[in-house]
Amino acid sequence: MGGILFFCGFLSIFTTIGVVVILGNQSLHLFNREQCVQAGGATAEEVFCGHATIGEFLTGTEWVPDQLKFGVLPLVFSTAMTSLIAMFVAVPLGLGAAIYLSEYATPSIRKTLKPILEVLAGIPTVVYGYFALTFMSPVLRDVLGQDTVRTFNMASAGLVMGIMILPLMASMSEDALSAVPRSLREGSAGLGATKLETTIRVVVPAAISGIIAALIISISRAVGETMIVAIAAGASPNFTFVPFDYAETMTGHVVRISGGENPYDSVGYNSIFAIAFLLFFITLALNIVGRYLVTRFREVYE
């Protein structure tokens, strides 16, 4: 019996190996093999062939697979941009909510408020995508002007993504804050500190590694989030730092390209694997750091 159970546990290792080997292998096809594309649409029969290099992939500023331009930076940049906007929403609000719930709310208020955050956390991201496109974008366009804000833009995707991440940020930070022992709060109050001073100067610093972990896991979530950006951020790569402009993110690009017909081993097929592979490493690194901090934080107070 133990053997079968061990296999169940070990399956997760296969998943990770699968991700690394298959995604890695498929993305290497993009760099190792000669890539050919038809140029000039249906009439021209000319075929362009060329090689993509990893250097170009990581530093190029243009992503046009049909012209064999594989610079992933525009996609990475817009991913960073939407994630940054999301963090501007999720971190202050999430932290504020966490502090309120952990330090100020009475048990009965907490009992009513926490389910609301849970509901927010349970809403599928495609619904948030719909919200970003049909609510946030029009509101931004009304407030900031139709010429300023495009229908598809990074700002509305980022803002809604921030709302989506808020519950995660709030609940992880609240866990960290509640883990700070009561004795520290009493010690501070005994010195004549107000509740706010206790919270800001004692409780939050004591929980800081847990809060940073929450922040990092939230960033990882934002970077990997797909449907909101796929629906609301725009459907073509654009190297810009204006948040009111359209710009496709890494995940958005993968979903759009794979939604169409892509023959096995075609340029489009291989290129999305390369993007996904990069994405995997970014999120993995963030998650490992985040989990490390959580573990270390637990050790301090247990």
Binding site: T106, P107, P181, S183, L184, R185, E186, G187, S188, A189, G190, L191, G192, A193, T194, E197, R201, V202, P205, A206, V300
Partner: protein
């Protein structure tokens, strides 16, 4: 107001947790520059009473105090008194050492900083003075930047005392400050209390009768009544309590016949 010889005066103090009356009808005084000990079997409400002396119980949801607690002729439980201000003037040291996970310097400077003192030189002064008074300066003067958690248990407790006196309170409440310490560290703290007595009024809760007899000038003996609520049985000079108590229950307790 300075004429009174009493630092604190409790008049018919009742403390409730929700519906439950934890302490019933306590009236006693705490004399200036003396050490007053609260003793009694565990669960008799002596810690609760101590925590009501600087409105620490306000932090417990549902806690409520009736009666009067006079501090410099002002009732601390009057609606015009700010609990934060009370706690600044009546400091507290807890059962388990609870230094903040910050450098030793920051631990001591915490109170003054919260009061709004920003000047580095002034803070340095306060930190050194407080650590000296807490007899800790010589041991930590070279590692002020190290975390307070790196100190030994006894040192941590003295750090907490230094932290408490850094805000210059008038009264120092100590809730079984030695119960988590070894005998040598306990001895240091007791010596320290004697030294601090010159400048501060000290109220100490202890379950260790020898300690009460050793360090205190006055002793209050508390017990639970038939409603499981704490009552003050006897309050007098320590010497009298331990040699010639008026109440038989006190006598039973101090001679170790129960509890």
């Amino acid at each position: 107001m300075g004429n009174s010889n009493y630092a604190l005066q409790a008049k018919n103090l009742n403390i409730y947790y929700g519906e439950f009356r934890a302490v019933t009808d306590v009236s006693m005084v705490v004399e200036r520059h003396k050490i007053t000990a609260l003793i009694g079997p565990s669960g008799c409400g002596k810690s609760t009473l101590l925590r009501s002396f600087n409105r620490m119980n306000d932090l417990v949801p549902g806690a409520r105090v009736e009666g009067e607690l006079l501090f410099q002729d002002q009732n601390l439980y009057s609606p015009f008194v700010d609990a934060v201000e009370v706690r600044r003037r009546i400091g507290m040291v807890f059962q388990k050492p609870n230094p903040f996970p910050k450098p030793i310097y920051e631990n001591v400077a915490f109170g003054p900083k919260v009061q709004g003192i920003r000047k580095k030189s002034q803070l340095d002064d306060i930190v050194e003075r407080s650590l000296r008074k807490a007899a800790l300066w010589d041991e930590v003067k070279d590692k002020l930047k190290k975390s307070g958690l790196e100190l030994s248990g006894g040192q941590q407790q003295r750090l907490c005392i230094a932290r408490a006196i850094a805000v210059e309170p008038e009264v120092l409440l100590m809730d079984e400050p030695c119960s988590a310490l070894d005998p040598i560290a306990t001895l240091r703290i007791e010596e320290l209390m004697r030294e601090l007595q010159e400048q501060y009024t000290i109220v100490i809760v202890t379950h260790n009768m020898q300690q009460a007899a050793r360090v205190s000038d006055y002793t209050a003996f508390m017990m639970v009544n038939d409603k499981r609520s704490g009552e003050l049985v006897e309050f007098d000079m320590t010497e009298k309590i331990f040699t010639n108590p008026a109440d038989t229950r006190t006598e039973d307790y101090v001679t170790g016949r129960f509890g």
